[in-house]
């Protein structure tokens, strides 16, 4: 196995009595896009700033490309950084902004000009060299900020919530562009975000963080399908949480219903209180045959129309105190002619259930 491009070991950071990061260890593979995902205050931005050298860790080591950078100041590390606020220099033209890091290296003027032109073409804004940042839209400014960060061909690209300041449409567009750019250049990238949709759509690996600790590291698929902890299950995507009690031999009781758990749930001793996690889109409605395990009668309590799909809240007959939210496409809703009070049959596939 090749060495990871960046290896963090035991990173700890305290602010007075508050521990922002608690012995965080992580490997970032070369050429991948890794996302730090978590709610505000979980430490993801602090971790990014420690990688950049803008904050100093209290304990722990960082090794970048085989080099121990733990004690190096920011000016001696090899990275480019893009901030939520773009931080473009308002009094310099776009050309001067992008060329900012190059001018210091005393490259020839022609070389600088061609490099800037190359970068502007790369981010899809070839003609704005003479403009000022204040004349561009948010999405354009962010692309220039990206071009500026990439100008010096750094080994590591750091993105601190780059899309948070943009409106919804720009966000979606830029998301795809950043990902395409990153894959084309093959630059190792770390991105911080609190938007799980961004993380799921862009990342090779997601690092889910909470309260200064890593909850789970994995591919978007793994994080979504197999959340390792209650926090991850709750934070990433919508999920139904049902209170259950283990019955032994892989069965659990929810209210009056007895359900078959997924393989591996035999380990729970009878009587153990459990939480059952099930994604709304995994619930089968009127589709499973009656002798399929985990089928129960229910009735429609509420329908929330969200355009392409709907969130239907159903009340299980055997567990009236714990409503279930089901994700149905608009077509399915029309086909089944569901309305408030309509009785139906729901199936809870055991392989989609997570018991924690």
């Amino acid at each position: 196995m090749t060495e990871p491009y960046l290896r963090l070991t035991g990173i700890t950071k305290r602010f007075g009595r508050f521990t922002a990061l608690d012995r965080v260890s992580l490997d970032v593979p070369r050429g991948s896009l890794v996302t730090f995902l978590g709610p505000s205050g979980c430490g993801k931005t602090t971790l990014l700033r420690i990688v950049a050298g803008l904050e100093t860790q209290d304990e722990g080591t960082l090794v970048q490309d085989g080099r121990d950078i733990s004690r190096l100041p920011a000016t001696r590390r090899d990275y480019g950084i893009v901030f939520q606020s773009y931080a473009l220099f308002p009094n310099l033209t776009i050309f001067d902004n992008v060329a900012y890091g190059l001018v210091n290296r005393r490259a020839g003027r022609e070389k600088i000009k061609s490099r800037v032109a190359e970068l502007l073409k790369l981010v899809g804004l070839p003609d704005v060299g003479k403009h000022f940042p204040g004349q561009l839209s948010g999405g354009q400014q962010q692309r220039i900020a990206l071009a500026r960060a990439l100008a010096t061909a750094p080994g590591l690209l750091l993105l601190d919530e780059p899309l948070s300041a943009l409106d919804a449409l720009e966000r979606v567009r830029l998301r795809a562009e950043i990902r395409a750019l990153q894959q084309r250049l093959g630059v190792t990238t770390i991105m911080v975000t609190h938007d799980q949709e961004e993380a799921l759509s862009m990342a090779d690996h997601i690092v889910v963080m909470s309260s200064g600790r890593i909850e789970q590291v994995g591919t978007p698929q793994t994080i979504y399908r197999e959340p390792a902890t209650a926090f991850v299950a709750d934070f990433v995507g919508k999920v139904n949480v049902l209170s259950a009690v283990a019955e032994g031999q892989g069965r659990v009781r929810v209210g009056d219903l007895v359900l078959q758990g997924a393989t591996g749930s035999e380990s729970f001793a009878p009587g153990t209180p459990l939480r059952l996690y099930l994604r709304p889109e995994d619930v089968m409605v009127n589709g499973a045959s009656a002798d399929h395990p985990n089928v129960a009668p229910a009735s429609v309590q509420k329908i929330e129309f969200l355009g392409a799909f709907c969130l239907v809240t159903v009340t299980l007959q055997g567990a009236p105190a714990q409503p279930l939210v089901v994700n149905l496409s608009r077509h399915s809703l029309d086909r089944m002619a569901l309305a408030v009070g309509t009785p139906l049959r729901v199936g809870l596939p055991c392989e989609c259930m997570r018991l924690l």
Partner: protein, 575 residues
């Protein structure tokens, strides 16, 4: 595949220390230098006063003997009392006046607001003595309107009070205008929908929101009146105030120890006002949140007319004061020969050898503006934009706030005690232009620092991080980006320092030498000698110079504004 290692025991030492980065070292060194400068030129002189107040002439420690002697001296107690009640009177007059004027400017739809505002700010261009001279001309022994005083003399408390009101009015006005502007329109709209009377709206919305501004203005007026020396010197007559006492003890009687005691007594009310202001600032809630909408007044004929009349009267009076002084400088001899003459300028100033004072003042203004702006802005930049050395940074912030609490005379006093001591290695500074420049910069440090810090805080605070990632030293970014973007604030500081250097008196009255006599000091001397025409001429010159500087500043700001507009011209269509 990314992995999560199990928590390892920390392999590195308890606290990671970064390798020294030459740029950070430079920033840290500069921070320490700035701190040292402020300590030497601010704290040390103040400490010297403290020391002198408990020593006798020979330098032996005598404890509180001088303080006791002070308390037992009825004349000195009377001075303290005089100073206090005059300052209270000035505050009681100026603040309501300024409030009403500010209210007219911000809450009415009267015409010609720009003109009124401009006139109201003119006293800033003049030394405080100009008002005193003018009032002598209006109400003095040969005054044009002497009869209006019903036998009372303008020399004494009356003269001091009216002159001080004139001089400090613009400062109070600006503070209250700012406070009134920062009121959320939505509060008024909500009150309207609840059918609140205008009177109730005023007392429940306007006043509370402006409360901080009113108190702040009152503190500024109070401090100023207590500390001012020029006005009581010219128009005080036999009415003794603390500022005069200090002057007499130190210059007249060479009794430094007593002078130090009086200086400390003078410090007390000013520090009190400073602390009140500070506490108010802390308890000030954010009335003007980011979502608030600025207030837009609606026309109301009766109200607007009343405000118009009020402002017109105030401005007319102010112009009368300024006008009388200028007029005096251009006539032969008041009140006997009112024909036009330049003799006060030609003979009174130039031939009287006093014109050098004017050029010294211009020099002082120039050096103070140049070095002061550099020092203030660079220090504010180091505090706001560099990392590390928290304690030093906090110390500098504290030191930067102190000059506001120190009257000019007290500062000047401290400088004599500290720098005139032959044992001090910096003794060579005494009597030079350098010490005048330094004392003036320190005297006006707080407000300049605030302007710089505000401008720097408005910048994106990631510029330095971007610079570090692109391997560009922070000082290059400072020159290429930070300073140009903050240019309006830098020019504002330079103008503020220049104008104040032109009119300053209380600090420099102790520090000048025959080579470095300043215009304000010359005015005092000319007035003492009875040459009121020449004194008025010098004051007029100062006003003229300050006006020119303000015009240049306005022009430069206009040019700059156009440039920054260019940075924000309409956006290009989306590609």
């Amino acid at each position: 595949m990314a992995t999560v290692a199990t928590p390892l025991p920390a392999p590195s030492p308890a606290r990671t220390r970064t390798i020294a980065d030459p740029q950070q070292r430079l920033a840290q060194t500069l921070l320490v230098v700035a701190c040292a400068m402020l300590a030497v030129f601010l704290l040390a002189p103040l400490a010297a006063i403290l020391v002198k107040s408990v020593q006798d002439k020979a330098g032996a420690f005598v404890g509180l003997a001088h303080f006791r002697a002070y308390v037992q001296s009825p004349a000195l107690i009377e001075s303290a009392w005089n100073t206090l009640w005059v300052a209270l009177a000035v505050t009681a007059i100026t603040v309501p006046l300024a409030f009403t004027f500010a209210y007219a400017l911000t809450r009415s739809c009267m015409p010609a607001k720009g003109v009124f505002r401009l006139i109201a700010l003119t006293p800033i261009l003049a030394p405080s003595m100009l008002a005193a001279i003018s009032f002598i001309q209006w109400f003095g022994n040969q005054g044009a309107l002497k009869s209006l005083l019903f036998g009372y003399s303008v020399y004494g408390p009356i003269g001091i009070i009216v002159s001080a009101v004139y001089a400090i009015f613009p400062h109070a006005l600006m503070i209250i205008v700012t406070a009134l502007l920062l009121t959320d329109r939505r509060l008024f709209e909500a009150a309207e929908s609840l059918r609140t009377s205008a009177r109730r709206k005023f007392f429940t919305i306007t006043l509370p929101a402006a409360r901080y501004g009113i108190v702040s203005a009152a503190m500024v007026v109070f401090s100023y009146t207590v500390s001012d020396f020029g006005i009581p010197k010219v128009i005080g007559g036999n009415f003794h105030v603390l500022a005069i006492d200090i002057y007499q003890q130190v210059i007249g009687q060479q009794n430094f120890n007593r002078g130090a005691v009086v200086g400390l007594i003078l410090l007390a009310p000013v520090v009190f006002a400073f602390v009140v202001d500070l506490l108010m600032q802390r308890s000030q809630q954010a009335h003007f949140t980011a979502r608030a909408v600025a207030f837009m007044p609606r026309p109301s004929r009766g109200f607007d007319a009343a405000m118009l009349v009020f402002c017109a009267i105030v401005c007319a009076l102010m112009l009368a004061v300024l006008g009388m002084a200028v007029f005096t400088s251009f006539i032969k001899l008041w009140p006997y020969d009112l024909s036009f003459s330049l003799r006060h300028y030609v003979f009174g100033l130039v031939d009287g050898g006093v014109i050098d004072s004017y050029f010294n003042s211009v020099k002082l203004g120039f050096y103070t503006a140049l070095f002061g702006t550099m020092l203030v802005f660079a220090t504010a930049y180091l505090i706001e934009k560099t990392r590390g050395m928290r304690a030093t940074r906090a110390a500098i912030r504290l030191l930067a706030a102190i000059p506001m609490a120190v009257p000019g005379m007290v500062l000047g006093l401290g400088y004599i005690f500290f720098f005139n001591d032959p044992r001090n290695p910096l003794h060579f500074l005494y009597g030079s232009m350098a010490i005048l420049v330094l004392s003036t910069i320190i005297h006006y440090y707080t407000s300049s620092h605030l302007t710089a810090a505000t401008a720097l805080k408005a910048l994106d605070n990631e510029f330095e991080a971007v610079s570090a990632s692109l391997k560009v030293p922070f000082y290059k970014t400072f020159v290429r980006v930070t300073a140009p973007v903050c240019l309006p604030a830098i020019l504002d500081i330079a103008r503020y320092l220049f104008i104040n250097a032109m009119v300053t008196l209380s600090a420099v009255i102790f520090l000048y030498s025959p080579d470095t006599k300043l215009a304000s000091i010359a005015i005092v001397n000319l007035d003492e000698a009875g040459e009121i025409g020449a004194a008025a001429a010098m004051a007029t010159l100062i006003v003229a110079t300050s006006t020119v500087v303000c015009l240049v500043y306005a022009l430069l700001t206009r040019v700059l504004l156009r440039r920054t507009q260019a940075w924000r011209a309409p956006p290009t269509p989306n590609p």
